[in-house]
Subunit: 132 residues, 4 copies
């Protein structure tokens, strides 16, 4: 079983659109926040990696939208690592209604490790701590 | 050959992130703007459909990120319809650098037609005008 | 002493810009979230008011930016009501670093109550519960 | 008469909220885009300044919201410089409906010049070209 980070927050009014529900674009920010919190929960921070001169760039994004999210809903993003290779990472996600546990969306993101010059580089050993 | 809408604009500073390039989440808003403009260029507007009580909900989103977009870059979103069924639509996209024509990203979105109650419904005949 | 709602969260990576700090536009969303949470903490929800056919439109916004907010910082928005009249409300805010308590920004927003037709209307009695 | 930059674009669906109009937070991004375009129209670019190691940080923001903006509206941001001092700049704005010329909002932003270390510094001579 992989480590699964659960990140819970209220969706914001600014994230809704004229359809009266959360605009699909904001789910992508929720996934990013899920990754940020995954690292925090593993005792690290993406901020450290950037300070060390490494960046994770998104190469692929897939989202399946199953059920609309309404303003003031509290949602839980579940984030886990499904593949870690020398230069790439793959994360998977579920966005669920915190109270009802209903599934709002599932997603996958793929990432590549870059250095300050933007060149693809090996993921540093120091990251291994949270990659098991 | 399908009708291809080309929509050109400068990316905004607020759309960049600490990596110094446009954050991947904003590409999804660019695609949505591409769809909006596709309808305008076909002589319609998504606003009309909502006034008629129809909504297009996104069910699937796929984005492949190929090359970072920097602040002040002028980009062109190319949007075309690849499938139109009784209740669903599929759009495909390219995001290119307007001057160099370099390809920054490709994407696909799938949509389902809903009525005011949120129930899946047939796409109205009036939409057929821009669906050939 | 007025009731002060304290709302704490991590800023998101997508909210930073190429300057490497949170873009000033996102502070406005933090204030909105502060208001949302103020209502929750008073035992209500802005969602209820909209269900009842009332809307709070922002008429004035003032923000003083004192100190940059960096990615991964945990901030606390302090929100309180400074004036409640028959048709208008005024909220005041502080955005502070949760750990160091440093003041990042102060703000004021003024609001007017609208009904479904967009006409200015009296704030319903039911809101009085959280307006003392 | 100062130089006034006029920047015209359609508001985006993602910028609307559940009230069915553009959320007030996005006006701040429109102002930022107005400043970006002001520099372009003066033959410069904010990107150049950052390359030279200078940054403009926002210190004060004032927005007066006069009339809601609806999806698909085309708006024109009018941007002009009202004060240029050795270390600070002040811009003023109008957001108007492009077709009807109706005034949606007025705004003022104040800015301070920072260097790479985040210290307040004199605005470089090279900026003088667009500051008359």
């Amino acid at each position: 079983m992989p480590f699964i980070a659960e990140t819970t927050f209220h969706v914001r009014y600014v994230e809704t659109d004229a359809q009266g529900v959360v605009n699909h674009a904001h789910y992508v920010s929720y996934l990013e926040e899920g990754r940020s919190d995954y690292l925090r929960q593993r005792g690290s921070s993406y901020a450290n990696f950037e300070r060390d001169g490494y960046f994770l760039a998104v190469t692929d994004l897939n989202v399946r939208y199953l059920k609309a999210i309404h303003y003031d809903n509290k949602i839980t993003v579940r984030t886990w690592l499904t593949e870690a290779r020398s230069r790439t990472l793959t994360f998977q996600y579920e966005i669920r209604h915190t109270e009802t546990d209903e599934l709002h969306a599932t997603a996958i993101t793929k990432h590549i490790c870059l250095n300050r010059t933007g060149a693809v580089t090996r993921i540093p050993e120091s990251w291994a701590q949270w990659m098991d």
